[in-house]
């Protein structure tokens, strides 16, 4: 039976078919739907949202130590968070097969950097598998588990946005039940002491030699000989692009296992063609190794280091086939993503946009969008959990340089708070930071499409969970004044910021209102309308940055299809020209 699946759905299916029993992840585009598709198999596979990627990797690795096949999944930057246990798991080896999925995001559709996680496989000295379509996503999961067990190592399963989010036909198969051996403690293997690590490191180097040999002969590294003129070494989605961009008669060396690279196979392939190309996105990961082995090839000087490729870009960059220039005479204006109409974060950002002496450091989530005009709140953003700690560093920096008129607010969402905001909160209390942490609690992990977290009361598998209250955590850490406010009530929001600013004890703010897009709760939906008689065209309402408000015939106008009646614009209007209908 064939089904149309995205790469992420196919990976979930492959995990199930391979007999895995434990899966853990923290959501992150483009990897999120892998774990979202696991609960359908909950009779055979336990799956969960972990508070962060490091936890996810450790949980999956612990399951492997217990003897079962396990998997964890994350976006590329998530592997930075989880890198610590990965490198040591490489030394220790595995119990049951253990696969770590990284989903890279070339072109940064939804990411803050474009790092190439193939380097992690090399740095951690673990084998890496790269599928190029949905069928391979499913099939390679089984192969990855087998390599993991055969070579006693974690396996990195590297995907990219276009592999994750492309749909193609997949032949489904039955689940393979894997017998789990009786658990016996193995301290030499799993207690990572210096003494053990010295032995393990030697084993890792020997393992790499065996994997190199394996890579030269394994079924997922294969030659397609179509002619002697041009040869292309490629992997992942670039294989699909190359198949369309190169002329008929081109031969391919299609790699599925890309660490260690099959250098002898590449050498053999290179000897069969007159001209050798290496086609890969981002860094010259394969090209450098191939050149280092003394094999001549053409790569990044034509294909480039930045963003995504596609068949047309390859044709243009390799064969000089430029598309005809398009001149329409009219140009579109930019359309950046924006906070949705009714987004609870809008009230907070509007309030902060009026503060003259505050510095706001941001974090990763929908609320990142608050930096854009007209709100323009947040001055620095780096990573998950960085909102509080960047704030701390800036406050200490201002203190050290004698700047006294700045107050620093650090912001992050509820899911991000559980991800890595609790340690930052402890830092603020422990080291006496002049910082107000603000948790923008919309009761969901928003940007990635509504996943539950330790604050929502539900698990990935749909079971009821104990709610961990953010205010209780903050109180336990030592915040003496915790202000909980509805951000859509601008007066209360204003007062909350004022109170936090003037507090003589450590203060924190929780802005609490569920995301307007959450489906299973009843929202107070209505419509706001402008009375054109009362509107004085002052454009104050445009300052809340709502996509539903614009100007029409020199009066404010609210798009009734988009408006949900949150009234933030109405509260801002100095002339009471905006009213919510039916109230």
């Amino acid at each position: 039976m064939k089904e149309l699946l995205t790469g992420n759905e196919a990976v979930a299916r492959g995990t199930y078919e391979a007999g895995a029993r434990v899966c853990s992840a923290y959501p992150g585009t483009p990897s999120t739907e892998i774990l979202e598709n696991m609960p359908q198999f909950k009779d055979s596979v336990y799956s969960e949202w972990a508070p962060n990627e490091k936890v996810a990797l450790e949980v999956a690795y612990g399951a492997s130590i217990s003897g079962v096949r396990s998997m964890c999944a994350m976006k590329h930057v998530g592997l930075n968070v989880a890198a610590d246990p990965l490198f040591t798991a490489s030394y220790n080896g595995v119990g049951g097969g253990f696969v770590v999925i990284t989903a890279d995001d070339p072109a940064m559709h939804s990411s803050q950097n474009e790092q190439d996680n193939r380097h992690y496989a090399k740095a951690a000295k673990i084998p890496m598998v790269e599928p190029s379509d949905s069928q391979e996503c499913k099939d390679f999961m089984r192969i990855a588990f087998e390599i993991s067990e055969q070579f006693n190592t974690p396996v990195l399963f590297r995907m990219t946005t276009r592999v994750c989010h492309s749909k193609s036909a997949v032949e489904l198969g039955p689940r393979q039940e894997i017998a789990v051996p009786e658990y016996k403690p193995n301290l030499d293997k799993f207690m990572s002491s210096p003494a053990a690590a010295r032995i393990h490191h030697k084993e890792v180097e020997e393992r790499t030699l065996r994997l190199e040999e394996f890579s030269n002969h394994c079924e997922i590294n294969r030659m397609e000989m179509n002619g002697p003129e041009i040869g292309v070494v490629t992997a992942s989605i670039c294989y699909q692009y190359s198949k369309e961009a190169f002329p008929e008669g081109t031969s391919f060396l299609k790699l599925g296992l890309t660490n260690p690279l099959p250098i002898e196979l590449i050498r053999e392939f290179a000897s069969k063609v007159k001209k050798l190309y290496v086609v890969e996105e981002l860094d010259p990961y394969m090209e450098e190794a191939i050149k280092a082995a003394g094999i001549e090839c053409i790569g990044k000087e034509l294909t480039g280091l930045l963003y995504e490729l596609n068949p047309q870009l390859l044709e243009e960059r390799i064969f000089g086939k430029k598309p005809a220039p398009v001149e329409l005479g009219v140009n579109p204006v930019s359309r950046p993503p924006a906070l949705c109409p009714g987004c609870p974060h809008r009230g907070f950002f509007y309030t902060m946009s009026k503060q003259k002496k505050t510095v706001v450091t941001g974090d990763i989530g929908c609320y990142t969008l608050g930096y854009m005009p007209p709100l323009k709140v947040q001055e620095a953003l780096v990573c998950m959990g960085g909102g509080f700690t960047l704030a701390m560093g800036m406050a200490k920096g201002f203190e050290a340089s004698g700047i006294k008129d700045k107050k620093v607010f650090g912001i992050m969402g509820d899911s991000t708070f559980f991800h890595s905001g609790m340690t930052g909160s402890a830092e603020i209390i422990y080291n006496k930071g002049a910082v107000v942490p603000v948790i923008l609690d919309n009761s969901i992990t928003g940007m990635t499409g509504h996943q539950d977290n330790p604050g929502t009361g539900l698990t990935l598998q749909g079971d009821v969970a104990d709610v961990i209250k953010i205010e209780d955590v903050l109180a336990a850490i030592g915040f003496k004044k915790i202000i909980i406010v509805d951000p859509q009530d601008l007066k209360a929001m204003d007062q909350a910021v004022k109170d936090a600013n003037e507090s003589t004890v450590p203060a924190a703010i929780i802005t609490r209102r569920p995301c307007i897009l959450i489906k299973n709760i009843k929202h107070d939906i209505g419509k706001c309308q402008v009375d054109p008689e009362k509107c004085k065209s002052c454009k104050m309402c445009l300052k809340v940055g709502c996509p539903a408000i614009g100007m029409k015939d020199n009066k404010a106008f609210i798009d009734q299809t988009q408006c949900v009646g949150c009234t933030v614009c109405a509260q801002v209007c100095p002339f009471d020209a905006i009213e919510r209908l039916g109230d």
Binding site: L4, T29, P30, T32, E33, H109, S110, D133, T161, R162, H165, S166, K167, S168, A169, I237, Y239, Q240, Y241, K243, E244, E248, N310, P311, Q312, E316, P323, A324, V326, L328, G329, V330, N331, P332, V333, S334, R335, P336, P337, A338, L339, C340, C366, T368, L369, P373, P374, M447, T448, G449, K543, G545, C546, P547, A548, I549, G550, M551, D559, Q562
Partner: protein, 194 residues
């Protein structure tokens, strides 16, 4: 190698339902025996930003993604987005355009001006089918079904008559929205003349 492959690009604004339409399209094409690939974007760009979904079908499709000058048909759910992705079209390609505009956050805030003459520019550039799918959807009682109205027009223009789209739509949309979406599909078909 891609000669026998047809490429479609669905463009619009996050939240307009391009993904549902690409789902209907891919399931229909797949059930008719075509090799199909589709590429969509999730995450940040969905929040009111510009979005595009690409669907390709034929005897054998490798790449889920196309580049400039490669699409046979575009369906623009919002008219300015047609301009943005016009360079993706092959010479002589078809554009089905919703005569409907959504302010961008920058035009709403008065920072940029929504362009004039969008439809004329597209008509001068390629073969267009233009109608207001939003008005039809509102008449049917739910502006959200504008996406399936556009799909109806697309299906007619594509001429894939062997596929029972009404059955595919019934299979893909939730049962309680089935009748609405079937009406939307039919209204979309009737909205364009080929």
């Amino acid at each position: 190698m891609a000669d026998k492959v047809t490429s479609a690009i669905l463009v619009g604004v996050g939240g307009q339902g391009t993904i549902l339409v690409s789902k209907i399209l891919t399931y229909g094409l797949s059930s008719a025996g075509y090799d199909v690939k589709m590429s969509e974007v999730h995450g940040m760009s969905q929040r009111g930003g510009s979005v595009s979904t690409e669907v390709r079908w034929g005897d054998k499709v490798y790449s889920p993604l196309i580049g400039k000058g490669a699409a046979d048909i575009m369906v623009a759910f919002e008219k300015m987005e047609a301009l943005r992705y016009a360079e993706q079209l092959k010479p002589g390609a078809i554009a089905v355009i919703n005569d409907y505009s959504i302010e961008s956050s920058t035009t709403a805030a008065g920072l940029e001006k929504y362009p004039e003459g969008v439809l004329e520019a597209m008509q001068n550039y390629t073969r267009c089918f233009i109608f207001n799918a939003e008005a039809i959807a509102v008449k049917l009682g739910n502006p959200k079904c504008m996406n399936v109205v556009l799909f109806g027009a697309m299906a007619k223009v594509l001429g894939l008559v062997a596929i029972d789209w009404e059955k595919i739509i019934s299979d893909v949309v939730p049962a309680k929205l089935r009748d609405l979406n079937l009406q939307a599909y039919r209204a979309g078909r009737d909205a364009v003349q080929i």
